[in-house]
Amino acid sequence: MARIVVVTSGKGGVGKTTTSSSFATGLARRGHKTAVIDFDVGLRNLDLIMGCERRVVYDFVNVINKEANLQQALIRDKRFENLYILAASQTRDKDALTQAGVGRVLEELSKDFEFIVCDSPAGIEKGAMMAMYYADEALVVTNPEVSSVRDSDRVLGLLDSKTQRAEKGEKIKEHLVVTRYSAERVAQGEMLSVEDVGDILSIQLLGVIPESQDVLNSSNAGTPVIMEEESNAGLAYDDLVARFLGEDRPHRFIQAEKKGFFGRFMGR
């Protein structure tokens, strides 16, 4: 059986799709057969970030409506043979997602894949509820600022009450992913620290992704940022995937760089 992982946040623009694409790519790069699904019906983005937007023929809604089968709709990544993308429909709205339909697609995918990554839309409306309903685990993506943290808290409440596991009395495993983190701004007191966010949300920290120009550049290029070996954000995503798979890796990029002469002299 596949592990179904939803990437969610409540708030928009915090890095759900960036995280989904890098997370799925990281899993596939480590040899795990992975499918990533865009649940943001009507506003599809994942295919752009994965760089497969010109190969979309059928989409998720077509499969739900049985207008196409999964084999036709799954787009195989050109870089990793273990990685498949199921794009969202741009022309439908979120009412096209039915609980039974989503369940059927996930069940079929589960037969062949090790991991299914569900990229949730923002908000707590139907699309987001469908993305989380069947999940076994959740990556809760949060920016270090108060409104994002509060929205994540709201989503955690929904994960604990409105999902299939919650209805069966089981627990979803929840992981915290803090994105767009700037250690310098935290040091200046302009941003919440990782400790603050972890304290408020009280779930296990999976990874901290530093604020980086590379994220925008790689999104524009259609390359998940995890593939940028020179990028701190890419390295942080690689750590995150390793930790998710059970490796013990220390957290990086959460201390401000020492800039003064004395700091440089003392080194690390």
Binding site: R150, D151, D153, R154, L156, G157, L158, D160, S161, D199, I200, L201, S202
Partner: protein, 230 residues
């Protein structure tokens, strides 16, 4: 529930007294359900009801009426209460914050004291082990609430009895929701949006910085909330 004692059959007099009382505490009676304790033998009940409703009060039932009055009340769709046994007894000596009964006034409002000593009703304490998240509301009806995790901003925990939070309180906590002035709130880290005991509340802005972030207990001292660091 608030009992409105009616000692006069003269609606005009009642209206004057009521207006004075409402002026005293504007907004206090708004949408407040009241029981009517009618101390006169005959009275224009329909007229009294419309008078109260005009003043934004909600008359719900007659309290210990005479059989004739009870009959009239039923015809006007009022409930009839012969004996009240609140789950938690409000001490009869507890001063009512804004409505002290005025002698020889035909209308006096006061907290209902039970006619007979209330039977202690045991309700199991509600225990919550998960964090209470933004948007969630947990109400322990008729008893105490224990939360073994943080209460997030945007969450609300309520109890008819005490509220205990073994973690940070960042949302709202209300104890003694049904009016128990002896109820208390305990938390390990006070950063609440709002705390209230028996309807008396304090918002975050008004919390003394000295107790912010501290382990505290909150109780009602007269008309004011008292927040003490443990």
């Amino acid at each position: 529930m608030t009992v409105l004692k009616v000692g006069s059959a003269d609606l005009g007099q009642i209206e004057v007294d009521l207006a004075a009382r409402i002026d005293n505490a504007p907004g206090f009676f708004r949408d407040m359900p009241v029981l009517l304790d009618i101390g006169v033998d005959s009275l224009d009940l329909a007229g009294l009801l419309s008078l109260l409703r005009r003043n934004d009060m909600i008359p719900v039932a007659l309290y210990q009426p005479t059989p004739a009055m009870a009959e009239m009340g039923r015809e006007l769709s009022l409930g009839v209460l012969q004996d009240m046994r609140p789950v938690r007894e409000v001490p009869a000596a507890e001063p009512e914050p804004v409505t002290e009964p005025v002698a020889d006034s035909p209308v006096t409002a006061e907290r209902a004291a039970p006619a007979a000593p209330a039977e202690p009703v045991y309700r199991p304490t509600r225990v919550v082990r998960q964090p209470v998240r933004s948007g969630q509301q947990i109400y322990a009806r008729g008893g105490d609430l224990i939360v073994l995790a943080p209460v997030s901003a945007g969450a609300e925990v309520l109890a008819d009895g005490h509220v205990h939070i073994y973690g940070a309180l960042r949302g709202r906590a209300l104890a003694g929701v049904e009016g128990d002035a002896n109820a208390r709130i305990f938390c390990q880290q006070l950063d609440a949006e709002l705390v209230a005991v028996a309807g008396c509340y304090t918002v975050n802005e008004d919390i003394d910085p000295a107790v912010r972030g501290k382990s505290v207990q909150i109780s009602l001292a007269g008309e004011r909330l008292q927040i003490e660091a443990n």
